[in-house]
Amino acid sequence: MADIFDNLLTGGVGAALVVLLGNIILWYLANIKSEQTGLTSNNFEGVSDFQETIDRVINGTGAQRGLMMKTENGGGKPRLGTHLYASVLYEGYKHPLNSVKNDYQRILVDDIYVKMLSDIGPTTSNKLIVSRMKDGILKKIYQREGIIYSEVHYIGETEDAFFYISFSTTNNDDKFDEPNDRVEIEIAVSKIRRLFEEMKHDD
């Protein structure tokens, strides 16, 4: 009988210790989570470093337009069962393209656009030849402006939005394959990603 009580007592203390340890782990995880949820897409608006980096690509390569964009739900976190909207945050452009930042705000995206986004990631860009794209809002936008080629690069994400950058041209056969163009674009994408991550950590 005494053995049973001893064992029960030992078991009880052990269980209490495990519960305590578990609670500490859960508290730690919840803390990390609350730090992450403090980030919003608004933190990344109005930063001139992004603009300068885009301008450098536009001035130094065949890219005629660079758009840093975000896709979000209507203010909350993008979730299944909600609509997604795309907006331009920063742009750089040169002749013959014009400014589209004011036009492209909160555009309801369609399936082709979502597919395009789903194909990009930290190690993958999406290279789009407009004539081969499926019909959709993205193709219509490109065609309206005479864009022939565009490539989209992943930048990062916050709690409530997904960020990416596109570089486009109206020139036939220009896919930014010239070594200088490629290096400039890769440097710019890396720099913007780094700025983005730094801002997340500084927040």
């Binding site: 495990v18 309801l108 939005a161």
Partner: protein, 190 residues
């Protein structure tokens, strides 16, 4: 002695299982990266477009019926493209359901389906009630439920007497099961 040892093992087992479950819940809830969400939305588009490509179904959409709204409106969240119909998604929040249809939809369990005559549905535009374009009848299946809304897939037909073959039924059921599993994966975020 043996009883107490078993009791000990049981207590530890229960505690560890609970902790593991708590950990899994905590790490999953609200922490799904947006890129994964976008990939799953793209997957749903693929699945619904696949139904239209490979069966006699004319159009597929995913509906969201919010719980806490006074008016019986529903929201089309995803729909097939290139099916020759006007886009229902842009009419979001404006498609009016009559009571019979609402009762039918609310009475479904997940995976269960019902047929509705869709030509009774309207969307409103500048105060006018306009009939939904082309769609005559639909097979609605409940796919998910959250605290805020019910979700359904709609298989839509442009002719009253158009029916699915047995093969189509098997294919669509299989595809919708995949859609249900995608929604189930995001259940806590719906």
């Amino acid at each position: 002695m043996m009883t107490s040892s078993l009791l000990l093992i049981l207590i530890f087992g229960l505690v560890i299982t609970n902790l593991l479950l708590c950990y899994i819940r905590t790490s999953r809830s609200g922490n799904t990266p947006i890129l994964n969400c976008v990939k799953d939305i793209a997957l749903i588009y693929d699945l619904i477009n696949n139904i239209v490509d490979k069966t006699s179904v004319d159009k597929v959409s995913v509906w969201k019926l919010p719980h806490n709204v006074d008016l019986p409106y529903m929201d089309v969240v995803y729909e097939t493209s290139g099916d020759g119909t006007e886009k229902l998604v842009v009419k979001r929040g404006e498609i009016l359901l009559d009571d019979t249809i609402i009762d039918k939809l609310k009475g479904l369990t997940i995976g269960e389906e019902t047929e509705i005559i869709t030509d009774k549905l309207y969307y409103s535009e500048k105060g006018d009630k306009l009939k939904l374009d082309k769609i005559k009848w639909s097979k609605m299946r409940k796919i998910a439920e959250s605290d805020t809304a019910l979700y359904f897939t709609g298989l839509h037909f442009f002719e009253y007497d158009k029916r699915m073959t047995k093969g189509d039924k098997i294919r669509t059921t299989k595809t919708i099961k995949k859609i249900i599993s995608v929604f189930e994966k995001h259940r806590e975020d719906l």
